[in-house]
Structures are given as C-alpha cells and as structure tokens.
Amino acid sequence: MTETDRGLPVPQTERGLPVPENDRRLPVPQTDRGRFTTGTGPGPGTGTGTGIEPERGTGPGQPLLAVDDLRVDYRTRRGTVAAVRGASLTVAAGETVALVGESGSGKSTVGLAVLGLLPEAAGPVTGSVRLEGRELLGAPDRRLARVRGREIGFVPQDPTASLNPVQRVGTQVAEALRVHGLVANRAEGRRRAEELLGEAGLPEPARTADRFPHELSGGMCQRVLIAVALAAGPRLLIADEPTSALDVTVQRRLLDHLGEVTRRTGTGLLLVTHDLALAAERAERVAVMSQGRVVESGPSERVIGEPRHAYTRELVAAAPSMTAPPAPPAAPDAAPLLVVEGLRRVFDVRTPAGARESVVAVDAVDFTVARGGSLGIVGESGSGKSTTAGLLLRLDRPDAGRIVLDGVDLATASRGELRRLRRHVQPVFQDSYGSLDPTFTVGRAIAEPLRAFGVRGRAARVAELLDLVRLPASVRHRRPAELSGGQRQRVCIARALALTPRLLVLDEPVSALDVSVQARVLDLLAELRRELGLSYVLISHDLAVVRQVCDQVLVMRGGRVLERGPVAEVFARPEHRYTRELLDAIPGAEGRRAEPVRPSP
C-alpha cells in the first residue's frame, strides 16, 4: 500500500472499518419524517453570485452534475498511480445515482474531485466536472469554496472522525451557514443550527447543539453531518459511504432520512458505496467502477438484474446472499465441545462527569457448541458479542459463569491449565493489519504459536498451513504491509490453525474486506470446517455471513441472548421483533428472503 504523508485515500475496507461506538440507539420519532423544510436557507436555483459563470445556459434538459472523462493520478514514491482513468457519469436534479466499486476502484476519488478536495498528492486532473453547465475543474480554490457547501453538500464516511472534536456540534452546523454569509449573527446561526439538527432527526436539538462529538454516538454524529451538508441548501449531495461505519438498523434509518430529504427538496444525490445491494435499493441509477473506470451504468434494476460487464457480474455473485443454502449442521449426535453457562461481565466505567458507573456488558449468556458445529453470534454495537468473544478466549475474565471446554472450566482454570487449553481455542480478529506484527515475516508470524509451544518441524508445518489457507509458499518471506487485506486475513487464519485447535473464535473475520474477497474467505472457512472438523464461534453484525458459515445462531442485544436456534429456522421465522428488524435492515432484504416478514411497527 502506498501512502504519502498527506494520506492517499486509504482503501477504507482494507484497514478495518472504524468500529462504531456504542450506539445509543436514538429512537427516531416518526414525526421527524416529513418535517424537513429548507427553512430560511436558500432554495434550489440560487446559483448566481458564485463567481463561476455558466458556459452554457442551464436548460431544462441539462443534468445537475456531469462528470466527463475524469482522470486523476496520484504521485507516490513509486511513481504515478492512476486512480481514476476516464470516469463519466451524470446526476439529474432530484435523482439518486449510486457509484459502486470496491476499495481502490477510484469511486471516492471521483466524489472528492467533484468537490475539488483531492489530497495534495493528486497530480493533474483532466476531463470535465460541470455543475449545471459550469466547469468546476481548474477553478481557483476561492471560487470553489463558494460552491462547496452552498451548492454541493458532502456527507463523509467516518462520522466520528469527520467532526471537529474540540467544537460543539451546533457551532459546526452553524459554520456551514456562516462561511457563506447566510446568517446575520451568531445568535441566528445558533437558532438555525438547532432547527437543522432537529430536521436531521436528533432528539432535543437545543441540548444536542451544545454537545461535543465524543458525547454522541456514531449514528448521531452522522445525523449532525447530514445537517451540516444540508445547511446551506445545496442542490447536489455527495455521500461517500455515509453509513458503512454504522449498524444496519441505524444505517437504514439514515438512508431513509437522506432519501426523504432529497426527494422533498429535489436535491440530486451521488451515493458512493461498496455495497451493491444498498445501491440497488436506494438509487435510481447505478454506475459501477473498477480500476478507475466506470465499466457499466444504467437503471439499478437493469444493472443488478442483468449485469452486462464481467466485473459487475462478479460483484453481484459475490454479494453475501440470504438465499444461498445455509451451512450444514454438525452431526446430530455430536457431543458438545463447548458449554457456556450464565456468563456475566460487568465493567466499571467513569462518566465524563467523573461518577463511577457499572455497565453490564454480558449477562446470563449460555450456549453450547457441538463438535464440528458452528455458532454465529449476531448483534449490533454494544450488544456484548465482542465481550463474549474475549471471554471465550479468556483474554478477559468473566465475573460469573462457566466456560467449559472438553470438561475443563476456562473461567476458573489455573494458569498452567489455561496455557494448555489455549492450544485448543484460537482467535481470528477483524483487523488483520493490526493483529500481525508489521516487522514479522508471514512465516515467522505463523510459526510463532508453534515456537511458543516448542513444536518441532516448524518450517514444514508453516508450508503446510499456507497451503491449507490457499496461499502460495512464496508468501512466507513477505511482510504484512505487502499483502492485500484478504491475504492478510488468510495468514491470520493459518496462524490460528497452527496448533491444530478444536475451536476458532472468529470476531468479525470478513467485515473489513471487499465483498468479492469476503466471499472467498468465507468459502475457505466453510471448507476448513469440513476438512478439519473444526468448531467455530463466529461474531458478526452481518447476518448473511452467519448464514453462510454457521448452523446455529444466537441473537444478542444489550448483553443478553434474545433468540437462538438453527440458522435456517431463526432467519425464516424470527420470533423476536429485534431479529426481524435486523433482517429487514439488510439492504435488499425485501424480495430476497423466501418468506417476507412484515417489519414491526
């Protein structure tokens, strides 16, 4: 991966998504739907005074945004890299267009090029970017500054990092108005900011305006950013992966809100996303990008339903499916390998005010995993699923409960016993980059557990393991930074398998990977389970992933088990309202499930 110090757009899915913070599940009152007005902000059609004169008349047939043969190069230490090599697309007023592609496809670069906010490493940009006929490419920054915010709004990807941590959110919303001189004074800016926060669906806007970003959940931060983007009443909105860092149900509410607003105000929306299903559901038209080119574009149903380009077909096929046959169950008479009873973990935290508080992260959780069985634990951020994973691995000690593996209780095992048992329970984490020492070669990383337990013949075993995870033997001399995200995760799996464990604890093993890579790693996991008779506990927020790898599922919320059972049964006939909500929130869920379930009111 090449990076300059100013930071090329790091492929967001390769490094691991920022883990969304505990989402305080804001209840979105139904009343906020349809409450949106542009207020006293300028309505559409106030394009004068920006200093960029139209080259042609803004006729009725003209698209709002027209990108034509856009090319962007990045200068890196190893020379020039073409990020975008000829991208063309249009967005009409009131239309939603999805720009779909995997990491490194150049889709985010297109969005930034339209705004004129490319990183400095970007070399000469050629082609054309027209907003209602006015050429934006090559315009001086001072003129572009008058277009940004006022005519083009931007909703960024990582909500918590995209708000200034040292400014109150109300101030940050008001700034979008103040830089364009749309409010007379501070007080008016404040009043408008509160209105905008309310319109964005935030509860108690007056109080929220005084909060700092770290006091809000990821979903709330994204609502603040939507308020910022809409503040000055732009006619075009560019949303770059606006929800990929958020839980599925939060994601759905936010996209509903964005859709509502753009429809009501006739704003054009360019939705940059890696998620094909989401694109199909939200956009009228889809443009698919691969290696810097738009390879296919057209109406969503057509592109997804009958993809013409080979790459689009690959993307459609790789999308984790809710219709594929679920993973095979363990032998019905298999004895339990792992029995968990009454697991409980309480954390002492300090509130910002300095008071001590106890948070019950995991409470009365019990389950069993059969030999050769595979259990999926699903839930949103804060549901306690990752805490459970930490307890199973005994990286953390439970406050109560038993974790019995093969008759030995891990919760009370002595240090020596625990060390012996670690051979049998191995982890694979979400962030493959962070869980490999960057200075170790792949061979050394895989051999490390073998060395720790004094296993001989390590070189041969490493070769065997690389073969097992379908990596070429030559990889052993490379370092983690030289590998792709998918390859790195395979290395992590090989390391986990080194000591021939009986149970793998997989914590979001594929959520940092592109869909096509995801599909291949999931296939590998399914094969390994079959070949080696492994048992899995797989933690995921993605129900499709669970369906593909697991035969049993556990739905968690607020540290408790809500529902459990065979995957096929639970997904087809969810008993709990929350499980239904999770299933419905999956983009493209409707019409894909065999037995549609009505969303709960």
Partner: protein
C-alpha cells in the same frame, strides 16, 4: 475540580520537598569548603586560611552542626519561606533574590513572548504554504535555531549587531534596546522547537477528516487552519511551552553571563562558584516552584482546549 487542584498542590509540595532535599544532599557531597572560599575572599586558591577564624565562621553559619540537624533546620526554615543569609554577601537570601528577579523576569518575559509569537506564526505560515516542499523547508529551517548553542548565538549577535553595526548596546540592562539581543538569544532554541512541534501537529490535524468536512462546507484553507486545525494541534505545543517556562532559569544562566546582565541566571552561576549554599537552595526552590506552578496551570488549561480531556486526581 477543586479536589483535583488540591491533590495537585499537595503533589507539588512533595516535588518541592524532594527538590530541596536532593539539592541539600548534593551540595554536601560536592567537594569544597564554603568557609574556606569565604575566608580566602579575593585572595584566590592559594591564600592561607586561619583555622580559628574558620571554626568561628562555621559555628556562626551553623555548619558545625551534624548534617541531619542542618537538614531539619533548613527544611523548617524553607517551609516558612526563610532561606537564611548569603554566605558570600551576608545579605538576606530573599533580598538577594529579590534584587536579581526583576531583570530576569523582564528578560524571560520578552524571550517567552518572542518564542510564542514567532513560533506560532512560523508554524501557521508554514502550514499555509501551497506546496509540501515549501512547508518542509520552512519547518526544517527553524531547526537551525534549536541546533545552535545559545552561548554561540549570543556572541555572534553581539559581534554583528553591537560591535559591527552598533544597533544595540552590548551589555547592561535597563532600557528596551538592551533587552533585544539577550531576548533573541534566549528565545531562539525555543522558537525552533515550538515551530517543529506545532507545525507537525498542524500538518497531522490538516489531514484529519474533520478538516475535509470544514472545507466541504466552504471554509477557506486559512479558516481550516485557524479555526479547526490550530486548536487540535495545540495540546503538545502547550506542554512544550510549559516546559520552556519552567526551564527559563537554566537558559538565563548562559544568556545573562554572555551579555553581562544582572539577574537570577548570573546569581546562580556565582552562587555555585562560591558554594553559597543558602542562595543555591533558594534558587532550586524557585526553579522547582516555577515548574510545579506552570505544570499545574498547563494541566488546568488542557480541558478548556480539548473537551475530551477529563482531569482526574487518581
């Protein structure tokens, strides 16, 4: 908050006690007899010392007491803010210090102001430059100030601006023109350091997503720097500046010597040369107190700059 300040003050008193104790012990371990130095007076090393006179003086100064006695007496006096009389001049130590302080305060104030203004201006200016090579050039050039020892820069400045061009008087203190060269000499290393730390902090902050958000609102590059990046980059620079304030006495030793200015720095150098224990102890106390107070002040300002910082006395 009140509790936090209270705990910190108690901690500070402990630090002062430790500093005083350490200085007491070190001074007693250092070879050399202050009484001998005092009796020789202007005579220098070779002058003979009358043993009877020496014993008399020793008794008068309390130096004939056992070390633990001297220590307890010393701590008790220090707690009351009394540091005794100078071995050398026989004046009250507080008066000696009081006489030296104004000139040093003037010099330190001027130098710190210069550091802050020039350092922040250079860092901000560097981050506003259009291309990356230009920015690195400005940032790197300030390292020079940091790399040159102040006794050398002081002498060069004197050669050029006093003896050569005759713009500023070479020595003495009193009016503003006499303050310029010493203040620059004392400020130069700090300017380099502050520009480096703040400049790099600004560069990191400007690459953050929230700066992109601000630019996407229509904020200019300058606004992004001043309103958004500067405050986020300020914390490490504040820490550094606090340390600089604390270390100003050490810097004054060299500067005041080179420019033959009266002041705490000169006093320190002389007191050490003559084994003037009471004066040295008072200076150690002063420097320690300065560190403690400045550190506490900086820590109390942190949460005002970054609301994510919570003060905890634990």
């Amino acid at each position: 908050m009140t509790r936090y300040v209270l705990v910190r003050v108690v901690n500070g008193l402990f630090v002062l006690w430790a500093a005083l104790t350490a200085s007491f012990l070190v001074l007693h371990l250092v070879p050399g007899d202050p009484v001998a130095v005092m009796l020789r007076g202007a005579g220098g090393e070779g002058t003979a010392v009358d043993p009877a006179a020496a014993d008399e003086l020793r008794a008068e100064l309390g130096l004939d007491q056992p070390v633990y006695r001297q220590y307890l007496e010393f701590v008790g006096d220090a707690a009351r803010g009394e540091f005794g009389t100078s071995f050398r001049s026989g004046d009250e130590v507080t008066a000696v210090l009081g006489g030296a302080l104004p000139a040093t305060l003037e010099l330190a104030g001027a130098a710190l102001l210069l550091t802050l203004v020039v350092g922040v201006a250079a860092a901000v200016a560097a981050s506003l430059l259009p291309t990356a090579p230009l920015r690195s050039a400005v940032l790197s050039s300030t390292v020079v100030g940091n790399a040159l020892p102040s006794f050398w820069t002081g002498i060069i400045l004197l050669q050029v601006f006093s003896f050569g061009l005759g713009w500023f008087p070479a020595f003495g203190a009193g009016d503003l023109s006499q303050l310029v060269l010493p203040a620059i000499t004392l400020a130069l290393p700090g300017i380099g350091l502050l520009t480096q730390v703040l400049g790099r902090g600004l560069r990191a902050a400007l690459a953050e997503p929230y700066v992109r958000t601000a630019r996407a609102k229509g904020a200019s590059r300058a606004r992004a720097v001043f309103v958004h990046a500067l405050r986020n980059a300020a914390i490490p620079a504040m820490t550094l500046f606090g340390l600089m304030i604390g270390g100003i006495v050490a810097g004054a030793v060299v500067t005041e010597t080179v420019f033959a200015r009266e002041g705490v720095g000169r006093l320190t150098a002389e007191a050490i040369g003559t084994h003037d224990f009471p004066v040295i102890r008072a200076l150690v106390f002063l420097a320690g107190a300065l560190y403690v107070v400045v550190n506490l002040a900086v820590d109390l300002i942190y949460p005002r700059v970054d609301p994510r910082i919570v003060l905890r006395s634990a």
